[in-house]
Amino acid sequence: MNDIRTIALITGVLALLTAVTAVGQFLKRHPDRGLDPAAVRTFNLRIRGWWVLCTVLAAAFWLGTTATVVLFGLVSFWALREFITLTPTRKGDHRALFWVFFAFTPLHYLLVGLNRYDIFSVFLPVYATLFVLARVAFAGDYKRFLERTAKIQAGLVVCVYCLSFAPALLQIPIEGAGAVGRSANFRLLFFLILLVQFADCMQYVWSRMLGRRLVAGAVSSNRTWEGLVGSAASTALLAAALWWAAPPFQPWQAALAGLVVATMGFAGGMTMSAIKRDRGVKDYGTLVVGHGGVLDRIDSICFAAPVFYHITLLVTGAGL
């Protein structure tokens, strides 16, 4: 029966989360272990974030595909909001931005929900881009034209287009998944998110333990080549060990997917760091007090999701 795998995956993740929560609480209660209290606090905050993430995902899965697509749509909307808030725009961009937020983003997620890969794969990168260029031109302000339109487009691609490939995983037909086919797709999505989170942690751990050579010190002071290689290798191992949870994959294919996901996630973190550095903020959350900084949480997923989606399509032979 197929659902044994779902139960196994959920049980495993719950056990792991409980274990790390226990470790985090132990470290918090025993500050005399010589560990940096700030690092322990960050660790515990991270764990709390995972609990929230798991709860929200579980609720969305339970409600079904449409609810999950809507959930990701809302996350995209909020992330784009943070992105554009942080990016200086001019008054001439206002009308274009209105359509970007209230027409292109919802329409794109509608197409994802309807499983129209043939349209949604070009809708934002081609049609929205053309629209933004033309609308800003029509507004009559040509100052730094390319720079401004590029900012809007970068926001759309990263926050909306790329992230939407995560819920799009739910629509890929999987051979031999049986009657409870959708649960296989949900496992696939969960597999991706698990790998991304794991890669983030491993990057931190490996950088801390062996980190010597910074990738780009001016952009990120804690991302090292050792962290990248270590995280890619450990994520590949975890993916291979969990291959049974991700339906279409053989162990070696799962390992390859883990390798690519870790690398893309790393690239996403670097990219967002560069943008934040340029704007002179530490994270997207500090811009507005009280907001968690959604973009800080999803930057790795945004970069990893489209690649993972296409690897899955290749493996299932469902497209390409």
Binding site: F77, F98, F101, G290, H291
Partner: protein, 231 residues
């Protein structure tokens, strides 16, 4: 806020001479519900986070003075206040904008309970400062914009003198500086469709007119108090 720079000092109205201080009896449950949902919607749309810096929300009589960047300003400040405070707080707004059309007039009169100032008919003998104080009575707080109109440059313009006369005539009222950040990008001047960016409303510590403080000194100090909330 809409007072002219050449406003003359006029008779100080005794606080007790104000009209009835209880919430207006005419406000129906429907208008209250409309106010609540509008406040929620405005805060959602403008993604506003609210900060009280060395200051606390209170129902005591206050004048909130803020930089003016967008038509949404008064609504967002009003929506940022806790509900008990909101009940006693009345925005001061321009009559020419807020009495145009049924919806706006209804919003201004019934939902926000706004004090509408006629910008075209400001004269010495019907000073808006007196009108505001009369309408505020001894229990209502006011939301005013001392720049007079929405700033075009994005910088905070010089304050008009109305705030000084308000402070002089009612030295018992706390003046609370409020800084509105990023709302001009949500709804810029001349636009009617909002873009849902994140904004931030900061409330600062109260200030009063010092004994013998000159008008220009006071207005400059008040303006600095708003700017210092920007960080």
């Amino acid at each position: 806020m809409l007072s002219p720079a050449d406003l003359q000092e006029s008779v100080v109205p005794a606080p007790s001479s104000g009209p009835s201080l209880a919430p207006k009896p005419g406000r129906s449950a429907f208008c209250r519900a409309a106010g609540l949902s509008l406040a929620a919607l405005a805060r959602l749309l403008a993604g506003s986070s609210v900060r009280w810096i060395a200051s606390q929300p209170d129902t005591c009589q206050r004048i909130y003075f803020a930089n003016h960047t967008s038509h949404l300003d008064a609504l967002i400040i009003w929506a940022s206040l806790p509900q008990t405070v909101r009940e006693v707080t009345r925005p001061v707004a321009a009559k020419d904008y807020w009495s145009r059309g049924i919806v706006r007039r209804w919003l201004a009169q019934e939902v926000f309970d706004a004090i509408l100032i006629d910008r075209t008919a400001i004269k010495v003998h019907q000073s808006p400062v007196d009108l505001m104080l009369r309408e505020a009575g001894t229990s209502h707080s006011l939301i005013v914009f001392p720049e007079g109109s929405r700033s075009v440059s994005g910088e905070i313009d010089e304050f008009k003198s109305g705030l000084y006369y308000l402070a002089k005539k009612r030295p018992d009222i706390e003046l609370i500086p409020v800084h509105i950040d990023n709302l001009n990008r949500v709804l810029p001047r001349g636009e009617f469709l909002p873009v849902p960016l994140l904004s931030c409303i900061s409330f600062g510590p109260p200030l009063w007119l010092e004994r013998g403080e000159a008008k220009l000194d006071f207005l400059a100090r008040a303006r600095r108090a708003v700017m210092s909330l920007k960080e």
